[in-house]
Subunit: 365 residues, 4 copies
Amino acid sequence: MKNTFGNSVCLTIFGESHGDMIGAVIDGLAPGIEIDGGFIESRLTLRRPQGNISTKRVEADEYKIVSGVFNGKTTGTPVCILIPNTNTKSADYERTKALARPGHADYTANIKYHGFEDYRGGGHFSGRITAAVVAAGAIIISALKKNGIYIGTHIKKCTGVSDIDFNEYKTDIEKLNNSLFPVLSNEKKDEMLLAIENAANQCDSVGGVLETVVIGVPAGVGEPWFDSLEGVLSHALFAIPGIKGIEFGAGFNFAEMKGSEANDAFYAENGNIYTKTNNNGGINGGISNGMPLLFRCAVKPTPSIYKSQNTVDINTCENTVIEIKGRHDPAIIHRARVVVDSITALVLADMLAQKFGTDFLGGEK
Amino acid sequence: MKNTFGNSVCLTIFGESHGDMIGAVIDGLAPGIEIDGGFIESRLTLRRPQGNISTKRVEADEYKIVSGVFNGKTTGTPVCILIPNTNTKSADYERTKALARPGHADYTANIKYHGFEDYRGGGHFSGRITAAVVAAGAIIISALKKNGIYIGTHIKKCTGVSDIDFNEYKTDIEKLNNSLFPVLSNEKKDEMLLAIENAANQCDSVGGVLETVVIGVPAGVGEPWFDSLEGVLSHALFAIPGIKGIEFGAGFNFAEMKGSEANDAFYAENGNIYTKTNNNGGINGGISNGMPLLFRCAVKPTPSIYKSQNTVDINTCENTVIEIKGRHDPAIIHRARVVVDSITALVLADMLAQKFGTDFLGGEK
Amino acid sequence: MKNTFGNSVCLTIFGESHGDMIGAVIDGLAPGIEIDGGFIESRLTLRRPQGNISTKRVEADEYKIVSGVFNGKTTGTPVCILIPNTNTKSADYERTKALARPGHADYTANIKYHGFEDYRGGGHFSGRITAAVVAAGAIIISALKKNGIYIGTHIKKCTGVSDIDFNEYKTDIEKLNNSLFPVLSNEKKDEMLLAIENAANQCDSVGGVLETVVIGVPAGVGEPWFDSLEGVLSHALFAIPGIKGIEFGAGFNFAEMKGSEANDAFYAENGNIYTKTNNNGGINGGISNGMPLLFRCAVKPTPSIYKSQNTVDINTCENTVIEIKGRHDPAIIHRARVVVDSITALVLADMLAQKFGTDFLGGEK
Amino acid sequence: MKNTFGNSVCLTIFGESHGDMIGAVIDGLAPGIEIDGGFIESRLTLRRPQGNISTKRVEADEYKIVSGVFNGKTTGTPVCILIPNTNTKSADYERTKALARPGHADYTANIKYHGFEDYRGGGHFSGRITAAVVAAGAIIISALKKNGIYIGTHIKKCTGVSDIDFNEYKTDIEKLNNSLFPVLSNEKKDEMLLAIENAANQCDSVGGVLETVVIGVPAGVGEPWFDSLEGVLSHALFAIPGIKGIEFGAGFNFAEMKGSEANDAFYAENGNIYTKTNNNGGINGGISNGMPLLFRCAVKPTPSIYKSQNTVDINTCENTVIEIKGRHDPAIIHRARVVVDSITALVLADMLAQKFGTDFLGGEK
């Protein structure tokens, strides 16, 4: 399905970095969801490049919803969101268009599309397209909130610095969603920012680990085997450029644990069932158990760096050196987290609609 | 789609741990693929419990192909494989059926299926069903081999012991596929086995990390965004019980790297293009770049342990203690790798068929 | 998706006419649906060949449910139904295996599967596989009934004889579902049977038109555009061998009507909304309007006839004549209607589950 | 999937009759397909309202391709086409918005979307959206032509007048594709036009039957059972507003035929295999046999008529009378055929890509 994801609620994306516009179509949203323009803008702001640690290409992201909304609410039919590209400098890419940028999709796109691909700024592979995902995600996040489901992501690790753990989920989530650089500890945040600026000064870039929590998902959502919550979330999350790993709960740390440590013992309190620990990240057998969903995504360093790199001229198949011009991000991790939230919201909206029906998340029923 | 995965080539699975039989239907296989019964059996043998480090429930796995094969070759129509369950001891589960086993899907299944689920031995959530996946995978693995594509998985880490890295892929893959306990270093293998037996003696269990390599996949396979190789592989791999994390190439280690270290520089040799390093695990922008595919899966410790654990009686919602009887695996990681190979083969066969058409992998065309 | 159909509730089929067994897997059924073995058998009986107007190959259809049912009810996980083939005479097909039978799929299968197809009795293209569809459908039909949804199909036209129209839906449906040869008028039924026997005596076969009604489907089920009720029903119904046309409501008769005649005027009665006529077959804009669903399927004459026919030897590409041996049906229309009911039930169960959630149709919730 | 259709090549549509714009996204098109702007415009012209027999709402259809095309050719990534709505008179709909127009989707949309739907001009259910389908289809039709596949549709029956049969397919197809009112016989065409004008003068509307032929599709395309050519084509074609029936080859006429008449005898000529008749419409067992694909769609009379009609006020549930104002088509059949061609092209492109791989239909490979 390539550029479409989801079953009951599904997202289609299109556009290129230097094309006229990028966009997204969300289909299957329940009717009656309120569109909060201010919230959409605030999410786009969180994704927008910031100061020294981001690219100098700043787009206004003046999104426009051209279908599926009537009288300020979703109609239940496809919502198309368009965002124009206004600040493109394609000339930067002309000179080096035959030189595959290491770590980027230039080479694989060239093989796959036989040279017909739009190479400017990474074309369809550009992180630019995630602006449309974020706008779409904002609509879903609003609707989830009204149903008591909250999503938050912090930078768990970056430049060798680790953030503290979540403490009080709801408060922490709120803090993160109001922060341009989402770290729970202000001290660690300053350390990370300093280290990113240093990397930028060295014409280099950094990666990191994002940790996401979702609270309020009822137990019983997800499927055994191929539509496990882990499987569907990871499928969608790997769409985000730069994500190269995902782990749920204890994840790779399970390798060091015994079953007696790893198992999350159940206990009952006031008629509800909980687990004492949450090593399984809120998921057993692919299905939510009512505890917070918890997962981490590994983000690789931005491949565009100003250092010169060895590469190949795709047309002549000769070894050469590339010096990437253009405008790039020394770090995208803080921007990527907005996309992680958005994709997570999409997947949950879809799985909730599959389980509870298409009106779930919608307005007065 | 729950129990069906794939587009052009797709797999449907069914069955319960203590039901009559389990099975799999593979649809969309190219016509003319030879069925190598001996190879299927050898793969089932690799998955079968072994000695002290496995459950005492050993099934003969006398699989039967009841459709889609004619004169020893695939016809192109659905191949149904059935495997009877013969060695079940359901009585073990009667006494504790209301007690949710920590780390298992008992509780989430109960919520999702409202108590109608088959709770015996984990029912449909049991690893038992993977026997059918392995039989199906064996057919695909054979076909991939004939097309020069080889898959191998070793235990990269278990009980705190790490295996050496791949050295010569093809030789290593062959060694692993002929080994009941797939570790590249014989020394490390002995260490791991000893540690697993120790855990078993303590009524406990262990997890680990599996590392998989695939060689021979041509560049250009995969899609940007939602059908990235990473996304589709992870979606399918998370179906395997116990897998809680996946990382491609450097994965979570990217968090410690700079862009200048992380990017895989291209170079040309004899008209072919390669990368010097393979931090991206053979995938750029979701699409294969011709280098080996490399990924790791985190496997949690088997949740069934003989130690007593705190839990809840699902019916009465009261706190209690469970002592799991039945027959269990102190480690499943060596068995799980056969399933990882099989699922990987399925995903590749599907993506190759989507790109090159439905006859790819088939017989005389 | 080839041999799998559906989203929330989906059916996978497999098997060949002369293979070991045929079967079906239904996934996504709500948990807690009672399995009524007697009803399944009664549906298989309606599909089974009868007397002079059917093939002499009569299969016992001793179906076996091997998964997804526990304590007599669905668990919510995949239900696999197997039916062995016991009465096969493959020798009949050996002699003429290279001769493409006109009207059959022999030639197209040979092109598509490059000669690897199982040609015996039509292989995977055989109507034999519909026995599994009928068994699966019976489970769904039972569940629909408990929710007030009833399906019935009569032979509207056959051998130039037309049946009367539906009069009182619920009574008529019940009559049809208890009748081996489903015609509302007993007189017309006798005429049709006589004409079919005449055709059989002339070594020929007949087709006809089936008319199906479904009552009890609430308004609001279906989607605009690509998942219209008409679109999804027709997609699935064309899977039935021999069906070559489908029309909803007035269907092709709309060509002769004016808008003022064709439009179904709405009226309200006791707070409910109805239409005076039902030219739209209960569907407006792809969505059910609460009136009975009404559609007709054109069934072509059974292509297997005893008359000699011109054809080509696929291997030598030479013109020749075929005389089909084997055992064939002079009419399949009365048997096909059981399959039409079953497929209709599948589609409705799927669309209802998509709209109302996965527990719809299930047991005590 | 609602507003998305296809597997390898897929189309997503969005928009409302009186919204800002409508649009379509085609994903999975092979890279290197030339975009012929003139041809797209010519197809939009064929769909545009004409003179006395069409609505007075004439849109300029100034389409814009905003993604997926670079240097005049497809890149292989999603092609988004936008068409603004410029000529809307929403006031026409305000007065009667609570009155369900008979034959329209107003009532079913209201039930499904709980009153949140955009009711103006039928909203998302409007035939207006097919303009985007036609623009998308034009790109595919161009590509199919370069591969020797031609599609043409004529009005087989309208106002009781029947057109002649196809005579020489390729010439006839060309004639139809250059004709605003596609009838093979000029005489019959005049009769139909006169009858439509008469109906319009009586404030009424007409329906009809469209007959489509496709030549050049190789044998072996399609699948048995659920992805039969008939099934997939019908699924997509029923998306077109007003289509209520479809039949392949002899279709409903099969009811009057014997097997010996219905079967299409094979014969060989110059090493190729043909059938003498084409009662099966070029499809056996769901798979193309190399003969022309031939099918007919029943189109109901446009439901918008100026005559007053009985209906219900949805809000009060009271019986009332509606007099539809606005601007309407007395006939849409000649416009619908352009959409039928487009949808047919989409389905064929998808099935060809599934069989032969994603590069099929593309540029220099």
